[in-house]
Symmetry: C2
Subunit: 215 residues, 2 copies
DNA sequence: GTCTATAGACTGATAGAC
DNA sequence: GTCTATCAGTCTATAGAC
């Protein structure tokens, strides 16, 4: 978005560092208060600068864009964990990553709910993010079938299984944010283990219902 | 909170009706923008009155209290659906209720995420609401065991099953808010059916892990 | 590159006309 | 009971000193 050199040397060095600090602060504040509830002043305070220093680089809406872009990049975390079932086994580590990066998780869930309104500036982004996430997970499960790790499942069952899994992830993450005593890794991990053994046993087909992926 | 007569007759009649309209408007706006992101002006606009008319009855924080109280009352919806497994079978109808009352659901999920910050004015309320919800559901499952509808499960397994179920509800609701094409009733209903038959088969004990309810 | 000062609009809330 | 008018405070954003 900005045309500042990414080389991070010379007179731009300090500026680039400031920008990172500001974006990190914005991630925290947006995650806490939501987009509408956040103020430049609070973001500036969290970054240890004045509001004017923040607005030197970003308008509030630019800050939203930068924050979403930054968060989206970090989401690629488990992409290398595939193929097939290995991806799902790595979800435990993803939960550990979330625990270590609470701000990112808070941002994601706050926006996912706040942006359900079509008018919200992050609505389209969150919709597409969700769509990509579900598509990726469906592909991983299909991959596991193709690799022979798991018996055949029709497309509707794959879609349903992934919708449930994604819902579990989001739901337990929500519980953990509200109450950190919740065993995020344990609950998710056990669900994944059970899902994998259910898939492997081929018992998922007992009650197929017509459903096509809607994302 | 207010000392206005609940009889809704005489000179108070119009006022009580206005108050309801304002609270309904606040539910919608809070659900869309979050608490911090909402303004009295927008709430007033949604209710079809001026900001001053809103502030005649409620401060912004009073409005939050009223909205949460109102939402909490409507949450008793499925309480009469028990005992035992009948409660879980009624979750399908709860989802239909949510579809018919999107605003209430949006409010719940927006606050559940926004209020994860301990500083949020609705934090304690949401924490307690979640706690009560999980406790109630655990009690229903224990009830089903006592009634002989379901074989014995230890306390840790009950807690885990309910955490997963609650997470599924929240997670699929989130998906539906972002994408109304999601089959909220179908996905949740099928999960519940499968959970019940899993509980009934007594296969849930295969992998007990030590866990105590943390809510 | 960051600051102070400030503009102009909007915030929650109050007072008083009708 | 609801309005207009208005308060002091805060919001995003800009201009210019250093």
């Amino acid at each position: 978005m900005t045309t500042i050199n990414t080389g991070a040397r010379g007179p731009y060095k300090t500026g680039r560092k400031r920008q990172r600090e500001i974006i990190d602060a914005a991630i925290t504040v947006f995650g806490n208060r939501g987009y509408g509830g956040s103020t430049i002043k609070e973001i500036a305070g969290a970054a240890g600068v004045t509001p004017a220093a923040v607005l030197r680089y970003f308008s509030k809406e630019q800050l939203l864009t930068e924050v979403l872009r930054d968060w989206d990049q970090h989401q690629g975390f488990v992409d290398g964990a595939g193929p097939g079932l290995a991806f799902f086994r790595a979800l435990r580590e993803l939960m550990e990553y979330h625990i270590a990066h609470r701000d990112h998780l808070e941002l994601y869930l706050t926006f996912a709910t706040e942006a359900s309104d079509a008018q919200h500036p992050a609505h389209d982004f969150m919709y597409m993010r969700y769509r990509r996430s579900l598509t990726k997970m469906r592909r991983r499960l299909t991959e596991a079938i193709d690799l022979g790790e798991v018996p055949f499942m029709d497309e509707a069952t794959v879609a349903y299984e992934i919708e449930c899994l994604h819902a579990i992830l989001d739901g337990v993450e929500m519980q953990w944010l509200l109450n950190p005593d919740v065993d995020l890794v344990g609950v998710v991990g056990q669900y994944v283990d059970r899902a994998i053994s259910r898939w492997s046993a081929g018992t998922t087909l007992q009650e197929p219902i017509p459903r096509i992926p809607v994302w």
